[in-house]
Symmetry: C2
Subunit: 746 residues, 2 copies
Amino acid sequence: MSHGDVDPEVEMTSPHWMHRDAGSRPRTHTFWRLERWRSSMLLLVGVALCDLAPGCSATDTDIALDAKATLNHRIQSLDLLVFVFLLALTVLTIWLFKHHRVSWLHETGLAVIYGLIVGAIIRYAGTSATLVHMQVEPQGVPTYSDKLPPDTLWFRYPVNQTNGTKQPELVHTYAYVFRGQVHDVDENEIDLKATFDPEVFFNIILPPIIFYAGYSLKKKYFFRNLGAILTFAIVGTTLSAFLIGGFMYGCVKLMPKYLSSSFTFLDSLYFGALISPTDPLTILAIFNDLRVDVNLYALVLGESVLNDAVAIVLSGAIQNYGEHYSSTGEFETTAFLRSLSDFFSIFLLSLMIGAAMGCLTALMTKFTRVRDFPLLESALFVLMSYSTFLLAEATELTGVVAVLFCGICQAHYTYNNLSEDSRQRTKQIFELLNFLAENFIFSYIGVSMFTFPKHHFDAGFIITAFICAAIGRAVNVYPLSWLLNIKRKPKISSNFQHMLFFAGLRGAMSFALAIRNTVSDERQTMLTATSLIVIFTVVIQGGAANFLLNWLKIPVGVDDETEQLNNYQVHSVYNSMDNSHPQTSDGYLQDVEGGGVNRGKMRLSGGTDSNLDTPVDGPNGSLGGASGGRRRNSHEKAILARIWGNFDTKYMKPLLTHSRPTLLETLPVCCNPIARLLTTTQQLTQDGSEFRRVDSDSDICIDNDTGNGLSQDATGAGPGTGTVGVGVGRRNSLSRVGGDHRNAYI
Amino acid sequence: MSHGDVDPEVEMTSPHWMHRDAGSRPRTHTFWRLERWRSSMLLLVGVALCDLAPGCSATDTDIALDAKATLNHRIQSLDLLVFVFLLALTVLTIWLFKHHRVSWLHETGLAVIYGLIVGAIIRYAGTSATLVHMQVEPQGVPTYSDKLPPDTLWFRYPVNQTNGTKQPELVHTYAYVFRGQVHDVDENEIDLKATFDPEVFFNIILPPIIFYAGYSLKKKYFFRNLGAILTFAIVGTTLSAFLIGGFMYGCVKLMPKYLSSSFTFLDSLYFGALISPTDPLTILAIFNDLRVDVNLYALVLGESVLNDAVAIVLSGAIQNYGEHYSSTGEFETTAFLRSLSDFFSIFLLSLMIGAAMGCLTALMTKFTRVRDFPLLESALFVLMSYSTFLLAEATELTGVVAVLFCGICQAHYTYNNLSEDSRQRTKQIFELLNFLAENFIFSYIGVSMFTFPKHHFDAGFIITAFICAAIGRAVNVYPLSWLLNIKRKPKISSNFQHMLFFAGLRGAMSFALAIRNTVSDERQTMLTATSLIVIFTVVIQGGAANFLLNWLKIPVGVDDETEQLNNYQVHSVYNSMDNSHPQTSDGYLQDVEGGGVNRGKMRLSGGTDSNLDTPVDGPNGSLGGASGGRRRNSHEKAILARIWGNFDTKYMKPLLTHSRPTLLETLPVCCNPIARLLTTTQQLTQDGSEFRRVDSDSDICIDNDTGNGLSQDATGAGPGTGTVGVGVGRRNSLSRVGGDHRNAYI
């Protein structure tokens, strides 16, 4: 132990506001520092100190500690307040933009820009608050019996007395809590600015965003395009990650900079993994505003939702490989395989936990009558969804992935069991949470460009990163589209491919992954490059998406169809993608169907036969729809989607929701006792009005099957259950629900 | 500096999960410890360690640190998971109870009981995880130039190498962050269990509860009973606090225990302040279920909401007095006066900040058309409400108080400007948040009885505390009721007084204040007593409330009237408390009115003239209502309420909402230009349908005035604006809104 400098050095340390579990996260020993923009607070501080100064009973030190604690709390509140005001400002400006139909700047772009402005103000207007650190050593002769440093240090410090006369014998013991490793002891960071624990992103900000993404996936088109989406998300993201990683590594090694020495292949792979996931946000909002083609929408949304999940697991596996498996830094086959198995097992287990919790919620809501009390029901829904995240984290899986698949299951099953009130409430709550979280993260990206202490600008690296990101996206889209188009029936046209390429904005997930680990110079450079890529793509690409849609002549203004996308999609139009149109007498539904048809006429390759715009009677239409579906089924639907849809309709939905056919009909006869147990009376005893209600549920949850690929199942079951005759009733109740929901949507 | 024991002692330290700003809060240097119930996690841990163990590139210490960080994160997730499951369980059981109409146990009681069970399991099933602490001293010769201990300690620790050969020259520097003072260095706490930072209550749990209380205050009856409520809340709470404090002090001093020496008068005053606020929760839920008399409801709700605010400020002032003003511990007049001025200035300033932010939101929503985008509108609403809390905290005021009055203003003004969608969304969101937060806090009270390390059982103190709490409540209720009854017209009957006394459950606020500071033995004893009082009152008193209501013959089953209470009250029935009944042709409203009348007939002293149950035409009724209101006005309404209502109708509402009369009519002519600026075209140009819509808004926000005390204003303005003629239209739209909302309520 060297005895050296003792004078408390001037240093800045962590504010840990909003800090949930600092230092408690694997593999990030980053040590956060902060600068406080006291200048704007001097007045308040002055008042506070005056308030606290006079006549004291405690020691000077106690008083000073109190004052400091108070000040810290106020600074933390102020920090948060800045972001809250920023968000409020963003909201008001978004409104102005929407009001005046400004389409070249989206709300997330706006949040970023405001963030940049405020960040710059904070940086240049603020003065540094200096915090003190001291080098310590163990008392007496140290015996380092443990591998680990102690969890807390107890430090005896002489306390100043009130009356001015120093009595050094009065000594208090203070506790210090382990925070993390100090990597650059000599670093002289003078101008460090506000930030907060990056784990907040993973534990507070991302979960609602990802859950909402799952909860609002347009299931019908999602499952229709399942093959393409999975290809893009899993194969594409992995491919893109490795390609970007390799390319970056090559480029960096060519650079004459210092980076070439310390920048490992793993680092560049990690960068590839974090820059690969795309953010749907801005593009989808524009798609939504413009009512763009639903298949394109489903592709972009589905891919971006899933590739977030893939990227987070992939980056974890890469990190793991580097830290635990590879002992030499060179490529090792066993370590690589172990990482690979990590990747798949974590992904699949997380998926299963998420799905299981979603199904559990569905069972709870099916077999209890908790729907009689919507508040309880909503609370249960929220609690179960949140516990999915916690459960995955507690079992060392990826909470974000679990929450995504939980969201999908909640939407697919539980939603159908919920009362109308709960449906709306859960939808609205997560919509709002999603909105706030998204805008917060983008504001933060903007602010942190100026205030985050660990930015490391390297022009060469940044330019390379931009190019690589574009190449990675291209590799993700074009070859895979070509591959998919070999088999795929409604081919992904080249214009769609360009749009998919262009829709590769980088967003929250990339940033969160980049800021998670900023220990080394390389990681800091990556963070800077990632932030810039995010800002550029969100502001510039997001702004230009509109023009590009025009330029590529991608059909927009697809009426009502895509409007429902945002509207949870579970009420998505029955059969609207088929050429048969089971129209009802309801005006609203006709609109919707018309929209679907228009879109179909405009572009869809399948849109050739019987493009009827005139209403047809329900039962006829229903039968027509079924036969139409059957006809085009074999070549339009991916086999994966078909198998899944079949299983889903036959077993999952009867088990988890109140839908028909029941398990009594789908399970073999020998299982009847069990099937009876798992079938509610509500499922069995359906009189006229009740039937309509329940059936509207089942319509909602099986519309992606009955209406399209799996019509044979539905019609197969039909004669047994007598569903065909009440086609009008079904569709009426469906459109009513849809109508109810329309107002709830901005 | 004494050189002494160096061996890392076995000690437990903080988990800081959910920990937002540890140690950053004034005057609580408590140092939280935890026990982890690893037993339930051994399997998982084993898996984790296996995963992390093999072939390493980093040092052993790094690996071990990683594993530990991972473990910590998982334990934190598990901690939270326990509470989330507990809540889910509570929700399901509540549903069962409601389903089977069990009335002797309320959900909060249930949450407490489940909490106790789980707490006991954790305590007796869990084994202690041992954390290590080490005594340190500065490197070299210390120069204590500063009053304050350093913010961080840097600690050099030799790191174990992978290959087993210890190379002591490899030393890492770790950072330790200041946490707080260690008070009992020698304390040998073996069985310390899980807890979390008490500031979480004040910064995360309480704000939504309090905001919701403000947002859902039944304004009409609240303002009608304003005088009584303010008397009970401010005078009563202060009185009760000082009385309990004095009495406790006397009793404790008589006790032969050790307490008598260290228990100061300030401590007992603090106890008085924290045990005085009542929690409306359970009682109101029962009132609500039973549809109890609205005046009683308003008294209980209004009082309990306000006395929370009073208590938090009062306890802050007492604490301040002890720590900063009183240098001797004896009574000092100047210090007392300073605390008193603190109390009032903090309370009033917090109130003003809250009200100002509420009004600002109202202005924002009035003068922008952000209502066209309900999501943006809701986001703005939430952000502004939250920023109120932050603003108050940042200026060293009381965020909870600010949020309460912000909530009241939001309900009173902003709510009227919101779109229908936002109204429902904000209502539902805060309802859900409130529900979750409340049940969490009660679960936590239960769990912490067993797991909180700082409980200190003292039978004498606890018994005394129970008696004092009862006496304090009695002093709050009976003498003040007697005093109020001198002037008050609908007198508070003795049965009501008994019920008010009995409704004095202690809840979240008492517990939060008690757990905020547990540094000394006295404070720990207080916490234990408070926890027990809370548990007892919530479970036993809450359970017995039902029977007592019967026994005291307090009218219940007041139809629909009170049901609307929960339902945000802004749609509360027009004129239902008056004897004139402006009935409409709408069946639902008739029900409601009927309910009001029944209640009026049953008990209200004023219920003598013209108790019509038959519908009367709208316009007639409207006029009748106005005249009826005018007639009974002078003696039924408190002067305070009248002045405020007058001002509110004339200036505040026209300014902040779209209500009539506009400022153009109420302001003097000279102010016309300004008035014109502050009046929206929506306020001025009201055609038939538009008028109805807007007017339904204004009905909603002025129903407590026009319908009752301030009818002269409404009718005075009436001829000028022509409102009388469209009475039916107004009421129709009102009842429609009410009808829409009914389903949203459990």
